[in-house]
C-alpha cells in the first residue's frame, strides 16, 4: 500500500511565476484558500485560517522546511482529527504530521510541478476515520438526492 500522494501537473507559466505563487504567503493563500499571518521562513511555523467555504474554522499550521529557489518548497503540516465543526479541535499538539513537497522543473512550455505528500503512516486509525466524517455525511446526502431524483424520473 502506498504511503504517499503524488501529483504532477504541467503549468503554462514560467518557473519564476510558479515559484512566487507557491512561496509568497499571500499568493499561496489565494489559490490554497488560506489566510496566512506572515511570510514563509524555513524552520519557522506558518499560521493562519482556512478560507475554503465551510472550513473557515480550520486552523492552518505548518513548519516550513525547505525553500530552494525555483526548485523545491516543502513543509510539514498537522492533520487535525476532524474537520467537522462539531468535532474539530484547534489544538494540534500531538496531531500527526505529513511532509508536503513541491518540486519545480522547467519544460519547453512552462513548468512541471511535482507534488508529494508523504508520512501517512503516522496517522492513527481514529484520525483517519473521523477526519472526513463531514464529507461522508455530504455523500450520504448526495446519494439520497440522486435516489430521489431517479425515483421521480423512472
Amino acid at each position: 500500500m502506498q504511503n504517499a500522494i503524488e501529483k504532477r501537473i504541467e503549468l503554462q507559466a514560467p518557473v519564476s511565476r510558479v515559484w512566487q505563487a507557491l512561496t509568497d504567503y499571500r499568493e499561496f493563500g489565494e489559490w490554497f484558500r488560506v489566510k496566512l499571518e506572515a511570510p514563509f521562513v524555513p524552520g519557522q511555523v506558518s499560521r493562519g485560517f482556512m478560507t475554503y467555504p465551510g472550513y473557515e474554522h480550520v486552523k492552518w499550521e505548518a513548519v516550513i522546511e525547505k525553500m530552494e529557489p525555483e526548485r523545491l518548497f516543502s513543509f510539514t503540516w498537522a492533520h487535525p482529527k476532524s474537520f467537522d465543526k462539531e468535532h474539530y479541535s484547534p489544538d494540534y499538539s500531538g496531531a500527526p504530521t505529513t511532509l508536503v513537497e513541491f518540486r519545480l522543473e522547467k519544460t519547453a512550455t512552462g513548468t512541471l510541478l511535482l507534488l508529494t505528500e508523504s508520512g501517512f503512516d503516522s496517522i492513527p486509525g481514529d484520525f483517519r476515520a473521523e477526519a472526513f466524517r463531514r464529507n461522508d455525511g455530504g455523500w450520504t446526502e448526495q446519494m439520497k438526492n440522486i435516489e430521489s431524483h431517479v425515483a421521480q424520473k423512472p
Partner: protein, 115 residues
C-alpha cells in the same frame, strides 16, 4: 459469538498501530493475502506456507492485530485469526480524501498562474 481480543484503547487512540507500518513487511502482506479470503485461520494453518516458526508467525500476527487488520477469535483451546478490512479501507478513503483536496488546490493554482 466470537470473542475478540482487542487491546484496550489508551490515550487518544494512539494504540492504533499504524496500518502502513503493519503492511510494510512481506511476510505480513502474505499473511493478510491469505486471511483476506474471509475465513479464520489457525496459526498452524497460516504457518504452513512459510519457512517460519509458529513464534515468528505469532509475532507478525500481533503487529497486524495492533493495527486492527486482524483479530483473534478463540474457539475452545484454539486461537484463530480473522481479517478485518476496516482499517485498510479507512486508510484508502483517507488518502483519497487528501488526494481530492490536492486535485482541487492544484487546479486553482493552475488557473492562478496561467490566468
Amino acid at each position: 459469538m466470537s470473542h475478540k481480543s482487542h487491546k484496550p484503547t489508551t490515550a487518544r487512540g494512539q494504540s492504533h498501530a499504524p496500518v502502513f507500518a503493519a503492511m510494510g513487511d512481506k511476510t505480513r502482506l502474505l499473511l493478510v493475502a491469505k486471511l483476506c479470503s474471509g475465513q479464520p485461520y489457525s496459526i498452524s494453518q497460516l504457518a504452513a506456507g512459510f519457512r517460519l516458526t509458529r513464534q515468528a508467525i505469532t509475532k507478525h500476527l500481533r503487529v497486524l492485530e495492533r493495527a486492527r487488520i486482524v483479530h483473534s477469535v478463540h474457539a475452545g483451546r484454539e486461537t484463530r485469526y480473522e481479517f478485518d478490512p476496516k482499517p485498510i479501507a479507512e486508510m484508502k478513503r483517507y488518502l483519497e480524501f487528501v488526494s481530492a483536496q490536492w486535485d482541487g488546490a492544484l487546479a486553482r493554482l493552475k488557473l492562478f498562474v496561467e490566468g
